[in-house]
């Protein structure tokens, strides 16, 4: 395995982890943009634009695009979050040149009015789909509650109203500003020809004009507001809790992922033993989400509405105990073993390496081989966990309950 990196004159960074023994390759354009970079008038534009990127270019119609992906047997898709929009595909190595040709062209889309109008319908269907999923809805609403006016609280999907009101020119303006080559990383992993990749990328993307896309990086500890959103159509009580956590750039991120695992992994964690093992809740977990310049611990609980107060009392006790007493060496070791194992398994597939590789560069402009990641993870000490807890004590928690009850 060998790491390669270069940057084109216009600022587009190209990185690759070359795995000669792999049977496939994965390629992704990682654009450092998402709902946090939107203004309220264009709420949902990052995600809507992600859909529109597949609708063709001056050279290709939407039908050409879909057929071309299928002719390579590509396993491909895209996703949009608060701060990243990622376009990715896994293909057999023989299609390296073709898949780059297609992706590079798609990164300069036509944004045709007719496609724009049609795709609004699909976006509104997607919004409706998530409305029927309270476990997703509660997270989205709680994020807004926690981050308030900080961009990380912006809804990725937007609303039916914001989507319907959006104009094609507004999307084009956003695109021109955010899809600047110096705001994009082309990341690849697997069996690939690096020299050919760079030469072709230079030819296809070298003319993209940079626009110096920027993002204000402000840390935000959260509002600590607690609310209930009553919805009689929902059967269970879904509760999301959010607390401040280290950023994606923080050296404490390894400790934070280990602490989250100890508290809220879906097997063998403190929340599991306190709530799921005892059948007080059918789901109780806590995850660490490193973000650009900030971060959050997210907990999610689903329980019988009548049990909500009791369950949340146990969650509070659990967090207070961790805050006061820390965790044990045995718990830390189990978390290391679990995360090491899953990272190793994921790293065996080119598709599994692609995302850590792309995000590593997007957030930190650094490359860490899988082996180094494992060393860093396994080097975390209890003292470092305690230091983390001092700085991020899982206090001042924002909380939202969504379900049949009116108050908690």
């Amino acid at each position: 395995m060998e790491f390669k990196q270069t940057q084109l004159d216009n600022g587009l960074t190209i990185i690759a982890e070359v795995m000669p023994a792999a049977k496939s390759m994965a390629m992704g354009f990682f654009v450092r943009t998402g709902s946090r970079d939107e203004t309220p008038e264009v709420s949902g534009v990052s995600h809507f634009l992600e859909h529109m990127m597949f609708k063709g270019t001056d050279k290709r119609t939407v039908w050409d695009v879909n057929l071309e992906f299928d002719r390579m047997g590509a396993q491909y898709n895209a996703f949009t979050s608060e701060e990243n929009t990622v376009y990715y595909a896994a293909v057999l190595p023989e299609f390296q040149s073709q898949i780059l040709d297609l992706w590079a062209d798609l990164m300069r889309p036509a944004l045709r009015q007719e496609d724009f109008d049609t795709e609004k319908g699909v976006i509104c269907e997607e919004i409706a789909m998530y409305q029927d999923m309270p476990h997703f809805d509660v997270l989205d609403r709680c994020r807004k509650l926690h981050f308030a006016d900080h961009g990380c609280g912006n809804s990725v999907l937007g609303t039916v109203e914001s989507i319907q009101a959006m104009q094609r020119d507004q999307m084009h303006e956003y695109f021109s500003r955010r899809y600047s080559p110096d705001n994009i990383v082309l990341s690849c992993a697997g069996k690939l020809d690096w020299d050919a990749l760079v030469a072709q990328a230079n030819e296809l993307c070298g003319h993209w004009e940079p626009s110096n896309a920027e993002r204000s990086l402000v840390d935000f500890p959260g509002t600590a507001v607690q609310e209930v959103f009553q919805n009689d159509k929902v059967t269970r009580e879904h509760v999301c809790l959010i607390a401040a956590a280290p950023s994606a750039q923080s050296p404490m991120r390894y400790a934070a992922s280990l602490l989250a695992n100890v508290i809220g992994d879906d097997t063998g964690s403190r929340l599991y033993w306190a709530l799921v093992d005892s059948a007080l809740a059918d789901s109780a977990d806590l995850e660490y989400e490193p973000l650009d310049g900030t971060g959050a611990f997210y907990a999610y609980v689903s329980c019988d509405p009548d049990q909500t107060s009791k369950v949340l009392g146990i969650v509070s006790e659990c967090l207070a105990k961790v805050r006061q007493e820390g965790i044990t060496e045995k718990e830390l070791q189990a978390a290391k073993n679990k995360i090491s194992s899953s990272v190793t398994l994921q790293g065996e597939l080119p598709m599994g390496r692609l995302v850590p590789l792309g995000f590593g560069w997007t957030y930190r402009k650094e490359y860490r081989p899988l082996a180094d990641e494992l060393v860093a993870l396994n080097a975390v000490t209890l003292d470092e966990i305690n230091e983390l807890l001092k700085q991020y004590p899982l206090e001042n928690i924002t909380r939202l309950g969504l379900g049949p009850i009116a108050s908690i």
Binding site: N66, D70, G121, E125, M129, D132, M133, R236, S302, S341
Partner: protein, 412 residues
């Protein structure tokens, strides 16, 4: 050419070890396929197998509940168990050199679970909550409703259980079920990854060799059911499930059916995505896949669409399913073939995917198809093959289930 090495070893008690050696990876994955499917749940006690699989992890052999889970976590095991019509499957993946340690614990889980009363009560309460949670997860609910409507009893029973059944399930029911259906007879242990097969075989012999249990009879085969049933809820979308007959895994037309499914729903250029979403914006999610459930082969489709658009969505979906026999282009077939081939090769890189493939193949065929065999069969498909399949298996009857605020009409 795709190369691989597979090994099969049958124990005298009926357990079969199937392994694929993958020297290129450092992981190992496994899957136990036990005959404890929901189809074998006692009458009016649907959910027994599912409760039991949860209970087996709550104390086994000398491990108490906490000790067992801590031991598995310490090995870094990523694990799960799931119940289908015919099996309860225990699967997991971890770093290859720790596989034997995990199998030692699974010997306790499968052969010596404690099945304690206090833990049973917890499992039962969780099972009840899982059924309640279905109301907040309409896509999961429509999946279970669709299968239950189409498949004959007992194949379509919901593995999660029915509320009235789970509420009356007792520990003695669960114990009796374990006694009868956790048996080495017909159980398959499939392993894929970086393993020393000889050492694995010897260890499996010593761990599972003295496990004893009864033979397993095939489930009675009934008739599938067609027609339309609507279930009401006040959600934002109408969730639509459609199933219709197709061929079984063991049928000579199986690869033709796979090619046909790929033409319908393989990629974003496939027919359903193009006609329902891209041209008409009637949905976000639409798809079809070929499925094997016990002795039945079927095509299963899903479409989620808002109430104002759902009728048109269903009409377009059914029209596309019926239209397949009218013609298929060479380009469509070529796309389907390269898609199937690519996913096959990528599956070959994953120990988890290979373990499941080995288990499924051995269950249905009593051998593991090599990747080359599958690749050749895909490469050999012709337009005439697909048309032949699409004509012979043109859907005569659909089983259609909807869940949402609006009842639809079936206009075919």
């Amino acid at each position: 050419m795709l190369q691989q090495q597979t090994e099969v070893h049958r124990l005298s008690n009926g357990l079969t070890l199937v392994a694929e050696i993958m020297p290129q990876v450092s992981s190992a994955a496994f899957a136990f396929l036990t005959p404890a499917g929901v189809g074998r749940d006692p009458e009016n006690l649907t959910g027994t197998a599912s409760i039991l699989s949860d209970l087996t992890f709550r104390g086994a052999g000398d491990y108490d509940n906490r000790g067992l889970n801590e031991a598995l976590d310490n090995l870094g095991l990523s694990r799960g168990s799931s119940t289908s019509s015919l099996h309860t499957r225990y699967s997991g993946a971890l770093v290859g050199d720790k596989l034997i340690d995990v199998l030692e614990i699974y010997a306790d889980v499968l052969c010596r679970p404690q099945l304690a009363n206090d833990q049973f009560e917890m499992c039962k309460m969780l099972a009840i909550q899982n059924i309640e949670s279905l109301e907040d997860d309409p896509r999961q609910k429509i999946s279970l409703l669709t299968q239950e409507q189409y498949l004959p009893f007992p194949f379509g029973r919901p593995s999660i259980g029915k509320m009235e059944d789970v509420q009356k399930c007792s520990l003695s029911d669960v114990r009796a079920y374990w006694q009868k259906w956790y048996t080495p007879q017909t159980t398959i242990l499939a392993v894929a990854g970086n393993i020393d097969f000889d050492a694995l075989r010897d260890r499996v012999e010593s761990l599972f060799g003295d496990w004893q249990g009864d033979g397993v009879e095939a489930l009675p085969q009934g008739q599938r059911d067609y027609g339309y049933v609507h279930h009401h809820n006040d959600g934002a979308q109408v969730h639509i499930g459609v199933m219709y007959d197709s061929v079984h895994f063991c049928d000579e037309d199986y690869y033709k059916a796979l090619g046909a499914s790929s033409i319908l729903s393989g990629g974003m250029g496939s027919r359903l995505f193009t006609e329902v979403r891209e041209k008409r914006a009637l949905c976000y999610a639409v798809g079809a896949s070929h499925q094997i459930i016990g002795p039945f082969g079927a095509v299963r489709c899903y479409l989620g669409s808002s109430p104002e658009q759902a009728q048109e969505g269903l009409d377009v979906l059914l029209a596309e399913l019926l239209k397949l026999s009218e013609g298929v282009s060479q380009d469509e077939l070529d796309r389907a073939k390269v898609g199937l081939r690519a996913s096959l090769i990528m599956q070959g890189e994953s120990s988890g995917a290979r373990a499941l493939h080995c288990a499924s193949d051995f269950y249905h065929l009593e051998r593991v198809r090599s990747l080359s065999e599958i690749e050749d069969a895909i490469n050999d498909l012709t337009v005439d093959d697909i048309l032949d399949y699409a004509t012979t298996y043109k859907p005569q009857n659909f089983s259609i289930t909807t869940l949402g605020p609006t009842e639809l009409k079936v206009n075919v």
